[in-house]
Each structure stands twice: as C-alpha cells, then as structure tokens.
C-alpha cells in the first residue's frame, strides 16, 4: 500500500508539474495572464486526435503538428486579443478566460465526447517496480516531465530568451531600455506556454478519454501549483507539484477520488493565508501583497 502510494504519488506529482509548466512559463515567469491554458491543453488533444484519425497521419507526426498548431493558436490569441489589452490586468484576465471558454464550449457543442476520443500510448506494456506495475506511458510521462522541468530551469536562467522572459515580468520599462521588445517577448512566452500545454496533453491524455471538463481541471491545477510554488520560481513549481501530488494521492487512498480535486483548493487558500507570495516566490513579493 505504502509502495503504491509512493510510486503513484510520484507519477501524479510529475503529471501536475508537467501540466503546470506552460502556465508557469507564461504567467509565473513572464507575468502574462493566460487563462485559456486549459483550452490550449484540450485543443492539442483534439487536434492530434483529428489529425490521427481523420487525416490518418502517423501518431508522432500528428502530435508534433498538434504542438505546433497549439503554439500558433497561442500566438494568434496574443496577437489579436491580448496585445490590445496588455497592461490592463482586468481586461487581460477576462479576455483570455473568454477565449478559453469559446474554445472549450465549442468542442463541447460539436459533440467531442465519448470513448472513441482517446490518444494512443507511446509504447505498450508495463514495468514491475518492487511489487507495483507501472505502464510504460507513465514512465514516459515521468521521463519527459523531469526532462522538461530541468530544461525549463536551464532555459530561463541561462538563455537570452529565458532571461528576457523574466526581465519583462520584473520590470517592463527597464527591460525596454535594455533593448528587449516586451510585446514580442510576451507573445513568444504565450506561444511557448501553449506549446508546453500541448506537449503535456499528448503525454497525459492517453491515460483516459479526452473530455472538455479536463480543461477546467488542468487550469485549476496549474493555477494551484503556480500560486503555491510562488511566481517566478521554477523550483517552486516542482516543489508545489510534489506537495499537492502526494496530498492528492493520500486523500485518494484514504477517502475516495471525489475529494482529490478539493485538495488543490484547500492548499491555495492555506498558502494565501500563511505565505501569500508562495513557497519560493521572491519576485514582486512586496507589490502583490498589500
């Protein structure tokens, strides 16, 4: 029992981190709201399903095209909606939330639900760890998730683009004076975040059927992880994912799957009371807390 909890808690934590990475890159690191994040995730799922089943494109090609399309969708949303309301926090939130709702509810209206909407796993079979069977897809998730988390850390600390992402969140005017085109960087950040959402979707969705409601759950989980980890900290995202991930698995085992999602909410409220800037958030600590 303990072994199952440990292994599946670990996997659940990596899944959370994976879903939160894109949101954290856009919102946490660059300070651009993207409340359409859950919609991007679902869009990638359905896009690769359509490419795979309607156009009969091989899976890995279809998945790559889906990631590209989602990033493009993010960039388009930035160019035509977000750019026009940049700087007005209220409008940013409302506009991106609206775009997300349009995408999600459109899929619901078009009748994209049912058992046929599944993505194939990368490779079949399972592995025996101790006495617990773990299928290869989950191994893939853990591998890619850890790789991306480390990659993101290196990217935002050691590349010019990554430093520019952090720069526009810390002080946009100073960033401008150093020759960083903040509008363009913010757009790239939204596109990257959407692309990461798509990667997460293609890895995670094969575990079950694709459903529109997942979009809301993904957004909630991503927000929870970002708030708890602290804005601007990629280590915080991983730490928060492990906290929530293990808490979720523990509640799942002790009191049933229904209570699993409620953990995120309780965690958000607790952390906002105790340490509003998150576990490891330093950036803008003073400005966000009044």
């Amino acid at each position: 029992m303990l072994e199952v909890a440990l292994i599946y808690g670990f996997i659940n934590s990596v899944i959370l981190a994976l879903t939160a990475l894109g949101f954290s890159l856009t919102f946490g690191i660059s300070g651009v709201s993207n409340f359409a994040y859950g919609a991007m995730y679902i869009f990638a799922g359905y896009a690769s399903w359509l490419l795979l089943n309607k156009l009969a494109i091989p899976f890995f090609l279809a998945a790559s095209i889906a990631v590209f399309l989602t990033a493009l969708l993010g960039a388009a949303m930035y160019r035509f909606v977000l750019l026009r309301v940049r700087g007005l926090v209220i409008s940013e939130v409302i506009a991106t939330f609206g775009v997300g709702l349009i995408i999600l509810e459109l899929f619901r209206y078009l009748g994209f639900s049912g058992f046929e909407y599944t993505l194939p796993v990368f490779s079949d079979g399972s592995l025996l760890i101790g006495n617990t069977y773990v299928d290869y897809q989950r191994i893939w998730i853990v591998g890619v998730g850890l790789f991306l988390a480390v990659g993101l850390y290196l990217f935002i600390h050691h590349t010019k683009l990554g430093l520019a992402f952090r720069g526009i969140a810390q002080d946009e005017h100073t960033a401008l004076s150093l020759g960083i085109n903040s509008d363009r960087i913010a757009g790239i950040s939204v596109a990257f975040g959407s692309g990461l959402a798509a990667v997460a979707a293609i890895l995670i969705l094969p575990r079950g059927t694709i459903s529109v409601n997942d979009g809301y759950d993904v957004l909630i989980n991503a927000m929870a992880v970002c708030i708890i980890g602290g804005l601007g900290s990629s280590v915080g995202v991983v730490l928060a994912s492990f906290l929530i991930g293990y808490a979720q698995i523990t509640t799942d085992i002790l009191s049933g799957p229904h209570w699993k999602m409620i953990i995120s909410l309780i965690a958000i409220l607790l952390i906002l009371v105790v340490k509003p800037s998150g576990l490891l958030g330093k950036q803008k600590e003073l400005e966000e807390r009044i």
Partner: protein, 335 residues
C-alpha cells in the same frame, strides 16, 4: 501635414440642464428625467403585458442584471470575480435548506439567505483580500467548481439529486414584481452608493490602495464589506431562483451564472451599473430568442465578451451616453 481629428463637444441642452436652469423648459426637464424614468416605467409595465413565457425570461433577465451589478460593484473595488456562480449557488442552497429542511416560510427564508449567503461568501474569500492582482479572479474561478465537487462527493444537501419540492411564490405577478422592484432598487442604490464618501473610499482602493492605507483606513475591512454587499446581491438572486425553480442542486454553481453576468457587464459598460442593466437586457432576451442553439450559448456570451473587451471596451452604455450628451465633428488639425 493636415490631419482630421474627431472633436466632441457637449450639447447645448446638456450644458443648460446640468444646472438649476433645467427647470426652465419642459424639453430640458425631459432631457434630464427620461433616462432614469424610462427603465422604471418599462419594468413596471412589462410584467402586466408580457405572455407568461416571456415573464420567465424577464425574471431571469433581472436575475442576470443583478448578478452583473454585483460583479460591477466588485470591479469598482478592484476585485475581478470570475465566479459569480459562487454567490448564486450559496444563496440558492441556503434558501433551499431553510425552506425545505427547516421549514421557514418564503418571506422569511429569502432575506435570511440573502444576508447569510453574503456573509458566507465574504468569509470564504477573506484569504484573498490581502493580495492584489489576479489572485482574486483565480480563487473565485476555483471556488464554485470546488463547492460543486464537495456537494457531489459528500452527498450532503441531496448530493447529485439536489433538493426539490421547495415552495413556489403565491402567484406569478408577485414573483415578477418582487424581482423587478429589487432590480430597480439595486440599480439606483448602487449608483448612489458609489458616489457617496463610502463609495469614494471603495473606488480609491482600486486606484491606489496604499494611499488609502496611509490615511488610516483599514482596507481589508472595507474590501470585506464590499464583498458582503456584492455577496448579498448574488445570494438574493440564488435564493429567489430557488423558489422559482422549486429546486436547488449542483446546477446552481453552473458556469452560466459566472460568465453571463460578466458578459452583460462588459457589453453594457463597466463601472456604471446602468451598463450592466442594459447589457443583461440585451444579452438574455437575445439568447432566449436563439434558444435553439442550446449549448452554443456560453460560446456566444464569451464571444461577445472578448469582442467588447477588445473592440469597444467602454461598452454600449457609455457609447449611448456619449451620443446623448455630446455631438461630434471632424476638425482639421496640424500634425
């Protein structure tokens, strides 16, 4: 280089009627009196003339207008809620429980649900008050979804079945007039409230909270009060609709109650309350006329939301107000 620019000038009648001289002529008196009196007359006459189906539409229009005003009020204090369904659902459940399980009569349980619901919402959202920015939006987005899950998971208050058999209003005319008068009262009360000293403090919190703190005002307490007021209005909507449907259940936390008020307020124009009112009276009957589209409703609302935020952020009400008070002309300017 010559360029053209649009110049806006107050109409003569606006300039004259701003002052006490408006009493000089009937035309100017009408100019001042028509805008506030028109909605009142309209709402008082409508329940008498509408067929019974459209009376139900009128009721839900008023409900959404109230929710939109409560959203607008929170925006005035700098809090953008993405979950008006929270207020609605809490009010609905409190009223349902009081009526069905405690057995209170309808005229007692609605006021209690209004106040108690407002208080519950304010308490639930207190942790977020110490933060600025998008945290409030995030938590309000999460809360209704979570409460829905909690009800589903724990099976309390009827769980997925909900509570049915709640007593309806004695007759449809009473039902319509109660909601009509409350809506009109809320409209004028909110418009008055934000111009009082109290309202100025609330607006100042949005503009510069540190300045408000530095004059010795406890902004957390002020924000909690604003939340309570907005929560009361939202909870009243929930309590009222519980009695109209005769049922309360998980649909009370549905996304419709979050997104439609938001669209109504944005389409109508933020910050005036009259805008929310106008927006609701455009969007709700419109979507009712198109009710064949069913599930596309939320898509449509969101579409209008995004369209107006991007293309006409001032909203319809400000636009009409400008046309009513000013005329425009093109003038040549040097550049």
């Amino acid at each position: 280089m010559k360029q053209r620019r649009k110049e806006r000038i107050d109409r003569g009648i606006k300039a004259r009627s701003d002052d006490v001289f408006s009493l000089n002529s009937f035309r100017e008196m009408l100019y001042v009196a028509v805008p506030p009196i028109a909605p009142v007359l309209l709402l008082i006459i409508l329940p008498l003339v509408l067929p019974s189906y459209w009376q139900k539409v009128l009721i839900s229009t008023c409900i959404f207008a109230l929710l939109a005003m409560s959203w607008d009020f929170l925006v005035c204090v700098g809090m953008v809620s993405l979950g008006q369904a929270l207020f609605f659902g809490v009010g609905a459940y409190v009223a349902g429980i009081l009526n069905k399980l405690v057995g209170l009569p309808i005229w007692v349980d609605i006021p209690i649900a209004t106040v108690l619901g407002g208080a519950i919402c304010a308490v639930l959202l207190t942790p977020v008050l110490r933060l600025r920015g998008v945290y409030f939006s995030m938590v309000t987005l999460v809360l209704p979804l979570m409460l829905e899950r909690i009800v589903e998971a724990s099976g309390m208050f009827g769980g997925t079945e909900g509570i049915s058999g709640i007593k309806p209003f004695p007759n449809p005319l009473v039902e319509s007039y109660v909601i009509v008068f409350i809506t009109l009262f809320a409209l004028f009360a909110f418009r008055r409230l934000v111009t009082t000293d109290y309202g100025l403090v609330l607006k100042a919190i949005k503009d510069n909270d540190r300045a408000v703190m530095s004059v010795g005002i406890n902004i957390y307490w002020m924000k909690a009060q604003a939340l309570f007021i907005a929560g009361c209005v939202g909870a009243f909507c929930g309590a009222f609709m519980t009695h109209v449907y005769g049922f309360v259940g998980m649909p009370s936390f549905a996304l419709d109650f979050s997104i439609l008020p938001l669209s109504a307020a944005v389409v109508g124009g933020m910050g005036t309350f009259a805008g929310s009112f106008v927006g609701a009276f455009i969007l709700v009957p419109f979507s009712e006329a198109l009710r064949g589209i069913g599930g596309l409703r939320i898509v449509l609302y969101s579409f209008f939301l995004v369209l107006f935020i991007v293309a006409l952020p001032e909203g319809i009400f400000h636009y009409i107000q400008r046309k009513y008070q000013q005329f425009e002309r093109w003038v040549e300017v040097d550049k």
